[in-house]
Symmetry: C2
Subunit: 389 residues, 2 copies
């Protein structure tokens, strides 16, 4: 199959929650606004408005899910392999929307945005947001776009958390959800990795309590945080294959403290690339939102089973055998709770050595599964009553 | 069984390699000296000098393996549970020696020591050392103490690497070796964790290319490095039990960036404690020595089997089921190579949820195994000819 890239139909920002009556009530209790949302769309909304799919990005992603912004752009959007004509999220058939999360740094209001009250960037005066808050803002965007309901919401990692959150917060709005390499809540080990990353940023003297805009950026801290993250995205097996104990440039040890092993060089490179495109404060906010994510607490008084009872969407969960950040067991817990309530659920644990990164790499396997799932949902529209089943 | 603490017989430093003819030839090729070694001994050397056991410490350990330095000391040595009268390393029976490694910061010459050529601390002008170099210096110490051979060499984690190195570098000097929670070489994942820790130190502006002595210490970087380390010492399971997702001081989220989850607080505390007692440059040197460790490369042209053929000592290997830093498979590879050569080897994979930390926590299980192994070796002395079997 020839794979064509999708044309990006819209790349825009929209101002939502412009006056106080429209402000979003955050999970912290704070009323917050105004909010600008950056989003892209691909494909065409049908006349019945029944083919809209929301794509949710992961920690370091953005609204640019697929295609190229003109010829100058050398790299396509983050889910190019899955989004386009004839691909899993078939733009010949579906209308796709992807927006940058609140708290992010790719166009949607976040800590680097100007606080209208002061005329200066918010910094850490920006309110701490949750995955639930990200979803509330996405809902506002869909209302603005006049989308009466979603055929599907889909995402991997933190994107999967948002997809799951959607099925609980707005159960009547979503026909189906695709939750990939994700979890219903972070384990203490994952919180620990996030926390050390945040510590690295906060202890960087250039961080200056978050007020570094216009000056030197806390790139050292952010780079360390990203390096820690990347270790958790790969599996031991993929590291062994990709780098082994090979040295960067010589046969023999250099006996100094320069970057020497290939795996060191890879992490250095990932850290250096990341600081060019990501805001350190956003890293604090987005990881904190992930750490807070716990649907059992919010929707089930501590019980995942109780929380999951709210789900009305058809559910597809995918996990990857070598993912140790959000291991298959964590997906299976959600699946078990769905089965307990006799919900419509499909689950695949895909054998892969790529670790957590697999959700962006095992696209061929994922695509077949996702496409069949979406098409079945779409083809059944109207045949059954009710919203979802 | 009542557990008594051992009296520390000797706490001393000795100057070795005092003139150039005695200098140690490091694996880097550099002739290095003078070298001061800090060591402790427990128990009494018998008249035949056949009951000496060398204990090797892990990354952040030191020469103080057991007992108390007078009543002022609130915490005993690092292997108190295993070293003492009637314990695994029975001080009523054996003469135990433990020394701080070269490159360390607890009395043995390291980067914080004064370079006699300049009168200033070495900093990173100190030569990069290897696990092999640590063992060479230990051998010099034993020669100085007039120990003609070791009944045993034992250690966990980096201490286990030294024990393994002893059996390869000085095969005729060691009757048996106890290698706990260790490996014949670090995986790229372990190297990656070390490398990010070093990056955190090196990118701390207070590090000043290693010349921070007498000024502000690079405590932020060292603390981050230690926090990363601690994540790898615990298992997901032990973190779940020890901390879960519990908050430090409140029922509700604080919606700020202060330390909030108990696991965050634990890591903060470990980081803060560590910087009070450990030198950041030593952290660079000691982790680099671990990263370089690869006995297959040094002794077997890349083949572990070939390297292991040199072993003459009786071998005891212990691993822990939930250790993901140096997982059981890595011990098993050494065991397989020993079995291939029909060496005298015992191996136990101890079921434990404590992760890598288990080697300091599962003392009761370890102790029974170690004691029987040591006693069998000691009781057989003289019955068989040759050094080891």
């Amino acid at each position: 199959m020839e794979k064509r890239s999708v044309g990006v139909v819209e790349t825009c920002t929209v101002d939502l929650a412009r006056d106080e009556s429209e402000y979003v009530e955050l999970d912290s209790g704070e009323l917050f606004g105004p909010i600008t949302v950056a989003y892209e769309t691909y494909g065409v909304l049908n006349a019945e408005r029944t083919n809209a799919i929301l794509l949710c990005h992961a920690l370091s992603g953005d609204a640019h899910a697929a295609g190229y912004h003109g010829e100058a752009e050398s790299k396509p959007g983050w889910w190019e392999e899955a989004v386009g004509p004839g691909k899993a999220f078939d733009t010949d058939r579906y209308f796709l929307i992807c927006s940058n999360v609140i708290g992010g740094c790719m166009g949607t209001t976040g800590p680097a945005s100007e606080d209208p009250a002061t005329g200066k960037p918010y910094g850490i005066r920006f309110p701490v947001v949750t995955i639930g808050d990200m979803v509330k803002v996405q809902k506002k965007l869909l209302d603005y776009l006049d989308i009466p309901g979603l055929l599907a919401v889909a995402g991997g990692s933190m994107g999967g958390m948002q997809a799951l959150e959607w099925t609980l917060r707005y159960p009547d709005f979503v026909r189906c959800a695709v939750v990939i390499a994700s979890t219903s809540r972070l384990s203490p080990q994952s919180i620990a990795f996030d926390a050390v990353g945040r510590s690295a940023i906060i202890s960087d003297p250039d961080w200056k309590t978050g007020d570094y805009y216009g000056g030197t950026l806390p790139s050292r801290g952010l780079s360390i945080a990203r390096m820690i993250g990347h270790i958790t995205y790969l599996s031991e097996q993929s590291m062994e294959r990709k780098f082994g104990r090979r040295l960067q440039s010589s046969e023999d040890y250099a006996y100094d403290f320069k970057t020497e092993f290939q795996v060191e060089s890879y992490l250095d490179h990932q850290g250096a690339k990341f600081v060019e495109r990501f805001d350190a404060n956003s890293y604090l906010y987005v990881t904190k939102a992930m750490d807070y994510f716990d649907v059992a607490e919010v929707y089930g008084d501590g019980s995942l089973e109780k929380a999951i009872e709210r789900v009305k969407a058809r559910m597809l969960l995918l996990s990857f055998s070598s993912d140790w950040l959000f291991p298959p067991e964590q997906s299976r817990k959600i699946v078990d709770a769905l089965i307990f309530h006799k919900k419509d659920v499909s689950y695949f644990n895909i054998r892969s050595s790529y670790g957590h990164d697999a959700f962006l790499l095992e696209t061929e396997t994922e695509s077949g599964i996702i496409r069949r799932f979406l098409d079945a949902t779409f083809n059944n529209l109207g045949r059954k009553g009710g919203n979802c089943r």
